[in-house]
Each structure stands twice: as C-alpha cells, then as structure tokens.
C-alpha cells in the first residue's frame, strides 16, 4: 500500500467511526453519551408532568431518553452526585420479545391484565432499586424505612426484607416466578399471587431514603417504543400515568406517532387528557427550520471533531449551487446551442437571435423546454421573453426550478443535483439520523475519491450521496416495521409517481410532490388509510401537514396533506421542496401497498395526469420464476 493510500484509508476509517453509526440503539453507552447534544426541547421534559415524546424514526427519541437515565446523566455531567444532574431517571426499552409473552396461550385477557400489572410493578420497582444500588456503589447512603419496606414487600407478595440488596433479590425471584409459570405451568398463573397496579411503587419510594428525588424533581421512568405494547398493556400503563402526582415519580414516554397513543385507561370514561394528564413534545415540530439547522450543526460538529479537532463546520464542507450554476452542470449550454440552431434554421430575425444569444444558458433552456412542452415555436416563446420581460421573469421564477429536471434528456449523467448545507437540512427535514447519514455518505465518497477535510465535497458526491441515502432508506424499510413491505411498496409507488411528474410534467404542474387523500369514489374506509399513513409517518418515510395551515403534525387525520419524506426525493429525482399537491384516491393509496396492484396503480394515477412512467422499480414488478 502506498503512503497516500494509507492516509486515505485511515481517514476513511475515522469517518466511518465518527459518522457511520447513526442509531442510538446501535451505540454503546460510551459513544452515545460522548456525542450527546441536548436538544432544545429537553427542558420541556423536565418536571413531574408525564410526557409523550413524539417523533418518527431517526428523530432522536432514544438518544434523549437514554440520556435521562441515571447512568447517562452521570456520564454526561461527569458527576456521581444526582444533585449535579438535570434529571434522575431510568431507561426501559419495551422489547417485543418480553411484552409479547403476555398474550394468547389460552389465557384470558383479563388474567393477562392481572399478570402484566404485576410484572409492570416488578419491572418498574427493579429500575428504582437498580438506581438505589448504583447510588450505594457510588458512595451514597440509602436508608430503608423498615415499615414502608414491609408494606412494599407485602404489596408484591415478596418475602419481607429491609435492605436494598435483599429487595433487589426478592424482585428478581418474583419475576422468575412469573416467567417459570408462563414457560411450564401456565395453568398455575390463575392461582398466583399478584399485585395491585402502582401501589408497590408508592411504598417503594416512601421506603427508600436518599434517592434525591422529590415531587418537584421526580424519578423519571423513561419508556421507549410505547407502540410495542398491546392495547390492554397501553391501557394499564396509561392508568399509571393518570395516577402520577402522589409520589415522586413520573413517566416520559417515547412514541413514534400520535396515532399510536391509545388514551384509554382502566377507568372507563376517564381517558388520558392532554394537557391535564400529560403533555406532548413533538420533536420535529420543535426542531423545525433554523433550530434544526443549529441542532444538526452542533451534532455534526461533535462528530467531525472526532476526526480532526480543527474540522471545519459541516456547512463549509457542503457548498451549494445556484440554479444557474446547476443548469450549467446539467448541460444547459448544449440545450442553448440547440435553441440557437433551431432559431437559425427557422430563419428568425437577427434581433431575436441576438436576444437569444444574450440570454443566460439557464433562460435559453427555459425558452426551448417551454416551447417543447407547450407545442409552441421557440421563436414565439423568445418573442414573449423579449417583449414582456416582467411576465417572462415571473414565468422563470415559477417554473425555473422545475425546469432543471428536464435539462438533461437522453444523456448520461445526473438529472438533478442535490447540494449545499441548506438543501441537506431540507432533505433531512428535522430527522437527525438522516442528516448524519447524508453527511456521512458524502464525506465517505469524498475521501474515497482522495478528498480530505480541507476541501469541500464535490457536487457530484453530494448528489450521489443523497441518492444513495434515499435508496438505502427504501431498502431498509422492509425490516423496520411489521408493515414494512406495504410501506416499501407505498414509497416506491409514490416516488415513481412524483419522479415521473417531475420529468414529464414540469411545465404543466411544476414540483408536484405532495398529496391529499381523496375519498370521493373510493370504498376504502378512512381508518385504514389513517393507520397506514400514521405508520408511514412514524417510520419517517412520509411527513404530514395540516392541510390548511401547512403546519406539521406527527399524526394522521383526514384533513392532512402528505409528502414522501424529502430524503427520498433524490433517489426518485424530484423536488424536495415543499410545493404543490395532487389528490390520490384512498383506494389507490391502499392499492399501491400490494404486490399485485402497485404497478398498475402507478400507471393509472399517472395516466390520469397525462404522463406515462418510465421503468418501474424491480421490487414492484411481479415476476414469478416457477410454474
């Protein structure tokens, strides 16, 4: 290996290490806390009011919730003293392999509710006792109130004990008892001693002195992946949330979208109410626009500093292009020459030719492409530009960006560039994971091509990186959710539709990239569409807006407008800017999710707008190989 190759390979390795790991779930505690940047909404999570932290995949929920655990706070603050921390809490990710245990098996849901209540009591108590043990191991003194400890043990049917280690052991034994019954003596469950939901926690917090928690600075149960709980399990947890206030603990709960929040509790007609019982912190709403740019810049700066302490800001690595510059890269000069040639062939006035020659290449492209799409002669469009400069200027303003998608026709090369810090922020759209992936891919290509942190990333690498992130996002999607296959087809279908419209209909309906669901003439119930799109929003592949105010929401209602997440736009090659809307029927939305009907539905939707698709993604084509 040559010396320069070795330097590049080392730099690549550093880039991989600093930016290649983008999921909090995949990171070790060390990496996570070293890189932690407190988001601006963090303050909203403080205090005893329970909170749902709502954010689609990749918005940073897990990082935030894990940072609130006692281990996280100790690492971030560098102090073993809880008084130096912003919060005191424990993290619990709700894993399907655990919560799915409490269903089926010939056991009634009523009994499962009792068993799960008991398990919740034990599990939450174990988190508190773990914290107490950690405090003791860190040199703090924990005093156990004997009477309260006895009440705690009795409430859980544990052997009575009055020291922290024995309490921890007792809880472990009780959980094993439940486990062994479910595994090999399921009929014994009904006769098992259970506990009343929540009661043991009240006793436990009263029993343990020295936890440094109060009602104004409560212990926070940070539960992640709330949607993994089944309906009856959510109801039980909601009941606990409803009861918060009497003891020094509360809940901060991560959930992907508001549709997943079931508000009912065990007490009929007393659902959770916002804001009386909890508040909602919507990460993407909170992190929009400039505050996201600031947050993204901070996070990336921390990561780039792992490569070189004097690393430039990410924005400096990502120069952008004006539309004029971009049109030049796309081959505007060739199109402009075609225009001049056609004008000469048509024998138009010298005055017009000179005007055309004086136009920028970008505007010359506009003349020719407009003429082609509207079946007008180039000279008539040119004359319009010359004689009505103000109107021409408005036209260029309205259609110029959309025209970029049409410059490179039938030639090899990029059909659109996606470059610049602002564009990358727009592609990420509040999703920090997408932002890191975009910068990582671009930097990786840059380094492989011999670049380093002193030189800006080439436009081509920025563009190809953006396309690759879109492509890998689609590919990963299958495994993200039980509905992954449906969401994959939906994204491929919508992407093909918007990509075709950008290529073929730029001048009829420029930058169509949003949709509203039409119910007229459709038989699909609104609920089915809401569930599908709610899941798509939660998985971070679709974004939803209030149809009238254009304000962002994380849930789904019928009045909403939707857009495929901008991060997918470079893969399908259409505008990532939030622009025009079309209506897609509810039946068609559902049809896009199925293997058999996706491809014909794309053709149908496009033909309704006078367009025909190019080659459809392979994954949407049905090609049985056997007989």
């Amino acid at each position: 290996m040559f010396a320069t190759d070795r330097v590049e390979s080392e730099l690549l390795e550093q880039v991989n290490r600093a930016l290649g790991q983008v999921r909090a779930e995949y990171e070790s505690d060390d990496e996570l806390y070293r890189r932690f940047a407190a988001p601006l909404y963090f303050k909203q999570l403080l205090g005893i009011t329970p909170a749902f932290l709502v954010g689609g995949r990749g918005t940073g929920k897990t990082t935030t919730l894990r940072s609130m655990s006692f281990g996280g706070q100790a690492r971030i603050s560098g102090s073993l003293s809880p008084s130096a921390w912003e919060v005191v809490g424990a993290y619990w990710k709700v894993e399907p392999n655990v919560v799915s245990v409490f269903r089926g098996k010939g056991v009634t849901e009523e009994l499962w509710a009792q068993v799960f209540s008991h398990y919740l009591n034990l599990k939450l108590s174990s988190l508190v006792v773990d914290y107490a043990v950690w405090l003791m191991n860190s040199g703090h003194e924990i005093h156990v109130d004997e009477h309260r400890a006895e009440l705690f043990c009795r409430s859980l049917n544990l052997n009575v004990c009055n020291d922290v280690t024995s309490l921890a052991r007792g809880i472990d034994v009780a959980i094993v008892d439940v486990e062994s019954k479910i595994n090999g003596n399921i009929s014994g469950l009904a006769a098992s001693a259970m506990s009343v939901l929540g009661r043991p926690l009240d006793y436990l917090f009263a029993a343990l002195r020295g936890l440094e928690v109060t009602r104004s600075r409560p212990f926070m149960f940070c539960l992640d992946e709330y949607e993994n709980l089944s309906s009856y399990q959510q109801k039980l947890l909601n009941t606990l949330i409803k009861q918060v206030g009497g003891a020094p603990y509360t809940f901060k709960i991560g959930v992907r979208n508001t549709v997943a929040i079931d508000r009912s509790t065990q007490i009929e007609a007393q659902p959770l109410q916002d804001p009386a019982d909890f508040k909602t912190v919507d990460i993407v709403v909170d992190l929009k626009d400039e505050s996201f740019e600031l947050f993204a810049s901070t996070v990336l700066q921390q990561r780039l500093a792992l490569i070189a302490h004097d690393a430039p800001e990410a924005a400096a690595l990502l120069p952008g292009l004006s539309v004029e510059e971009e049109s030049a890269l796309l081959g505007a000069e060739l199109v402009r020459n075609q225009l001049i040639e056609q004008l000469n062939d048509a024998g138009v006035d010298r005055q017009d030719i000179e005007f055309a020659e004086g136009l920028s290449h970008f505007e010359a492209c506009m003349v020719l492409r407009w003429a082609q799409s509207h079946n007008e002669s180039p000279e008539s469009v040119l004359r319009f530009a010359r004689t009505q400069p103000k109107k021409w200027s408005v036209r260029v303003g309205n259609y110029g960006y959309a025209m970029l998608f049409t410059i490179r026709e039938n030639r090899v090369g990029e059909r659109k560039y996606y470059t610049g810090w602002k564009t990358y922020c727009q592609l990420a759209d509040g999703n920090i994971r997408y932002m890191i992936r975009l910068v990582y891919e671009a930097l990786r290509m840059h380094v492989i091509d011999g670049g380093n942190l002193d030189s800006p990333i080439a436009m081509l690498h920025q563009t190809r990186a953006a396309s690759r992130v879109g492509e890998t996002t689609i590919r990963d999607l299958q495994g993200w959710s039980r509905q992954g296959a449906a969401l994959t087809r939906l994204s491929l279908g919508l992407g093909s539709i918007f990509g075709t419209l950008a290529r073929e209909m730029a001048f009829a309906t420029p930058e169509v990239n949003q949709f509203r669901v039409g119910y007229s003439g459709s038989t699909t119930p609104a609920e089915n569409v809401d569930v599908l799109l709610g899941e798509a929003v939660g998985q971070g592949i679709i974004i939803g807006f209030d149809g009238d105010k254009n304000a962002r929401r994380s849930g789904a209602t019928r009045e909403m407008d939707y857009q495929l997440h901008p991060v997918l736009a470079p893969y399908f090659i259409y505008s990532s800017r939030r622009k025009r809307r079309m209506t897609i029927g509810a039946d068609d939305i559902i049809a896009l999710t199925s293997r058999e009907s996706a491809a014909p539905t794309i053709r149908k939707v496009l033909s309704g707008r006078g367009a025909t698709p190019g080659r459809l993604p392979d994954q949407l084509l049905d090609f049985p190989t056997g007989s």
Partner: protein, 311 residues
Amino acid sequence: MLDLYEASFTRKIPSADLKDLGVTHLLYGVGIEEDRADTIVGELVDSEAVQLCRVEDLDDAQCRVHGLERTVNLYEAADLQALVSSMGGLVGVDLTSLEHRVWAPLVRALVEAGTEFVALYAEPNDYRRSDDLPGAVYDLSTSRGIEPLPGFARLARRQDDDGYFAPLLGFEGARLGHIFDQEEVEVSKTSPVIGSPGFRVEYPTYTYLANRDSLSLDRMEQRVEYARASCPFEAYRALERVHARAGGKHLRVAPIGTKPHALGGILYAIRHEPIVELIYDHPVRSKGRTRGSRGVYVYEVSAFLKTLGAA
C-alpha cells in the same frame, strides 16, 4: 470451522432408507404446504414398526397428538413430559413438517427426559417463487411477530447483558433488520452465523446479499461464523465460538436461517439457560414455497448431546 476429528452426528440418506433407522415413534405435522413436507412420513407410513404421531394445532397453546391420542399444552411442562414418557424406543422428530413453535418445546422435553431421539429433515430441491429469494420485498406482516417460542420466554433480569447477539442467517434480510430495530442487541457485538456450505452452492451468496445492509454495519461481516447449512451441530459449535468470544456473557440467538441451524440454536439455548435467550419472529410461509426434495438428513441429537456431558 470444521473439526475433522469430531464424530459426525449428521447423515444424509436416501429417503427409502428411513425405514431402517429404527424409529419407533415419528412426531410430524401437516401445517406446512410444501412438496417435501410429506417426504418423511410418506416413507414410513407403511412401516408397522413405526407409530405415526401426527401433531395437530388446536390453538396457539394446545396440540392434539394423534396416534397417541393425547392433548398437550405446549406451555405445560408436565403435559410434555407425560407425552415423552409415553413414547418408548427411538423417537423421530420431523422438522420439515412441524413449525418451530411446536418442535422446539418437544425437543426440549425430549432433551430434559434424556430420551433417545433423532431429528429428521427433508432438504428442499429449490425455492419456487421469486418472493422467497433475495431482492423481493419481504412481508413481515404475515408473521406473528417477535414472540418467545413456547417454554423459552425470558422475563428475568439478564445477568451480564451487554447485547451480544448471534443471528443464524437466512435469505430474509428484513427479519434480521427487524430484530435489530426492536430488541436490545448491539450491532458491534453481533456475530452472525451463515450456512456455508449451503444446500446449494449459490445459497451462501444469497444469504450475504439478503443481509448485506446489516452485515455492513460496524464490520459485522468480519465477525461471521460459518457452519454447514444442513448441520445443526456445526451451528451449535459456531455458537460456542461466538459465545466464547463474548466471554460467556448473556447471548441472544435468533434462529432465522435454515431449520437445521435453528435446531442447533435451540439445543444451544437449552444447554445454556438462562444465559442464552432465543429471539424468534414466527414467519408464516407461503404455500408451495419450495419444490421437491433432494434427500433426507438424520440428526442424532441425543447421541450428540451425550458427547457434551452434563449441562
């Protein structure tokens, strides 16, 4: 890594030779609609020496064992032990025709009772449909989702849990991705097991392709262990190597590859409770996804376990 000095407990035989194995009871199912599902029972149906025990799902907990005329709850250890005690001689478990959720608790009961048994598996000739091969969109919604196999639930505190994970890989990358997404497993502490040599020469490549996105995370491809796709005991040994590298800490094993590998994973979990935990997602297989059968494998499970000594 193949240990040339270790006795082989895996044999491939012509299906016609099944009669000569000395199996006295055959546990088999009817829930899997593939050509090969009938291969094993088809050979033994006329054999008077074999008691055919068709296992029929009554619901998600209970099974009716025809032939022995017993109803067994898969979540009742006493039921399973009584079933095993009622079978003398050499028991055969047909992995081909039974779902994991049925054969795994049966295997566990046989192991715990010290019963002599073999597992049988008819190798598919080929996969029939394009959507069972990499590249097609894999539909997780057809599965029951991640849920412990009967008898293998883990609620207790995991000792020494650093997120070590050993998935036994198959063709469906989405299944691995889903487990990464949902469970507390660490990518940097994941060592996958790939079936190589495969049932066919191209299958290991398919496995790589299908899982390439996950394998590229944190150099996971450099921690891959190989085990013959048709051999549960090589898979068992591969897991031993992974577990040794993990310092014997808590290890999650996902048997999402071949059925022989799943058997290896489940045996490993049985022998290493509670430090080894299984993660399984219960896929529902499309009808007729494979065609034909190219021979039958016999796995001498109880003989293999004897060589390991006491757990």
